[in-house]
């Protein structure tokens, strides 16, 4: 029983991290149809900012955390401005290639100007301590991660439903031009989507760094891959889909870890992606794929 609960919490916290990552991709995709593969590098920027703050500025972990989230958010907004704005209305392939380009350029900048090797940051270890919860032993980091994701989901939902900018972003996911025809500035909607995406990347960065304790140029690769898979499973462009896909991915991963016999352990990922593939056979566009119609009913 305890073992099951333990694994359940594992699945939940894995899922929470994937959901957080997937939301970052999905929010940008929903308004501009762009799969922002540079999202991983935004996370890496957050990691390098931690290094910079920890070595140059302060030992106070909260300031380090704040600094890295702000850096990730600003980077994301800056990328929209310099890289994605020029291809805003181009076809999706152009956007995709631009995102890959940005991702590669940033990785190379990290390689050239920082270091190809991992750099340790120990300031966040305090987030990861063992705690007793109802008699089971878990990591505080798992708890924080799950809670943070829940807070993000609630906050994002309120923002999307209760504010004019949230409504504009939802409207934009369906018919961007019509949002402009309401007098709502396209530039602001795009900037806002990237700002939120960057904040989510910064938040994810905290947990990733607290677990790994180091940053290297490829820090963002695996997270963005998982985010992408979660979005595909949940339905690209759908925010609830991103959350669902993230949690599903976490559950499937932990389930494979638990259920697969020892000798198949090395094939865990193959099984995970096999199940993902089956889900896509069942729902080719993802489980919660948004409707494609533009709402014109004759």
């Amino acid at each position: 029983m305890e073992y099951i609960l333990q694994q359940f919490i594992n699945a939940l916290s894995f899922g929470a991290e994937y959901a957080l990552l997937a939301l970052g991709l999905a929010i940008v995709f929903s308004v501009m149809g762009l799969v922002n593969f540079a999202h991983g590098e935004v996370i890496a920027i957050g990691g390098y900012t931690m290094v910079a703050f920890a070595t140059l500025v302060t030992a106070n972990p909260w300031i380090i955390i704040l600094g890295s989230v702000v850096a990730a958010a600003l980077t994301s907004v800056l990328l929209e401005r310099v890289a994605f704005r020029p291809v805003r209305y181009a076809d999706p392939t152009t956007g995709l290639l631009t995102a890959f380009g940005v991702s590669i350029v940033l990785q190379n900048l990290f390689l050239l100007f920082v270091s190809p090797r991992p750099i340790a940051v120990t300031s966040l270890y305090f987030l990861d301590v063992p705690v007793d919860l109802f008699g089971i032993r878990i990591s505080s980091l798992q708890l924080f991660e799950t809670l943070a994701t829940l807070v993000v989901i609630v906050a994002l939902t309120l923002f999307l439903k209760r504010t004019i900018w949230g409504l504009a972003m939802q409207g934009a996911s369906l018919d961007f031009q019509m949002v402009r025809l309401m007098g709502i500035r396209a530039n602001r909607v795009f900037a806002l989507a990237f700002l939120i995406s960057g904040l989510l990347a910064g938040l994810a960065c905290i947990f990733i760094m607290a677990r790994r304790g180091s940053v290297d140029p490829h820090l963002g690769f695996n997270p963005v891959l998982m985010a992408f898979v979660a979005c595909v499973v949940g339905g690209f462009g759908s925010l609830p889909g991103a959350v669902l896909g993230g949690f599903l991915l976490g559950i499937v991963q932990v389930a494979m870890l638990v259920l697969l016999p020892q000798e198949y352990g090395g094939m865990k990922d193959a099984f995970v992606f096999g199940i993902i593939a089956l889900i896509l056979v069942w729902r080719p566009n993802g489980i919660l794929s948004p409707p494609v119609e533009k709402g014109d009913k004759v």
Partner: protein, 240 residues
């Protein structure tokens, strides 16, 4: 009667889609407080003209609004200047509630209480929309969506309202209701540019009309004279 001042003044307007020229240098004007109708068959360039006024297509020539040339004015700033559209195909935000659609329509306003009051007023005008205020706009019938599209366009408190085929595909009873609403708007002083294929009803509530065909204006005149021109009407009703 003195002619009211011109609100919208279009001259030598051409509209381009890539290499294709869809509108070939038309001129038209909409005086303040009047309803002007743009008639014409499918593909005539009516919607292209509306898009040109909104700033969403590539154009040459001039579109002047309140004496100001809009050539370098963004889509958003045109709305802020007082141009609002109920576009072809309605384009309500089907993934948002009826109420949210109206709130977005008022996206450029900051007077929260007045926005609320305006929304309630629309729900009194169209009780059916009020009944469905929390329902997704995508679940509304075509007629309800059209009412919502017009109400949404008016939420920005525009100086001029552009209506692109508001009666298209609707049952006769709903069509009359829509035209009654447009007439009421006009009586309340709204300036309207109406695109219609339903010539008879449109001319009845209009002051002036233009007939557009294959991207050029083929006839224009006071709406009443249009109505009396039997040959023209035969052609128009044949189209509608």
């Amino acid at each position: 009667m003195p002619r009211p001042p011109t609100m919208l003044d279009i001259s030598d307007l051409k509209v381009f889609y890539g290499p294709i020229e869809a509108v070939h240098g038309i001129s038209l004007c909409v005086p303040e407080g009047q309803c002007v109708t743009l008639l014409g068959p499918n593909g005539a360039g009516k919607s292209s003209t509306i898009s040109a006024i909104c700033g969403t297509v590539k154009t040459s020539g001039s579109v002047k609004f309140l004496g100001q040339d809009l050539a370098n004015t963004d889509v958003e700033d045109r709305v802020r200047a007082g141009i609002s559209v109920s576009p072809e195909g309605r384009r309500v935000f089907s993934n948002l509630s009826v109420e949210a659609n109206l709130l977005l329509g008022a996206g450029i306003r900051r007077d929260r209480d007045a926005i609320r009051a305006d929304i309630e007023r629309w729900f009194r005008t169209f009780p059916i929309l009020g009944d469905r205020r929390r329902q997704m706009a995508g679940t509304l019938s075509g007629g309800e969506q059209q009412m919502l599209a017009i109400a949404r366009a008016l939420m920005s408190k525009p100086r001029i309202l552009l209506l692109d085929e508001p009666s298209l595909g609707l049952a006769p009873r709903i069509v009359s209701q829509i035209f009654e609403m447009i007439e009421q708007l006009k009586q309340d002083g709204m300036t309207i540019l109406l695109v219609e294929q339903n010539a008879r009803q449109a001319l009845r509530i209009s002051d002036y009309a233009y007939l557009l065909n294959t991207g050029t204006i083929q006839a224009e005149g006071p709406a009443s004279s249009f109505g009396q021109n039997d040959e023209l009407m035969a052609k128009l009703t044949g189209l509608g």
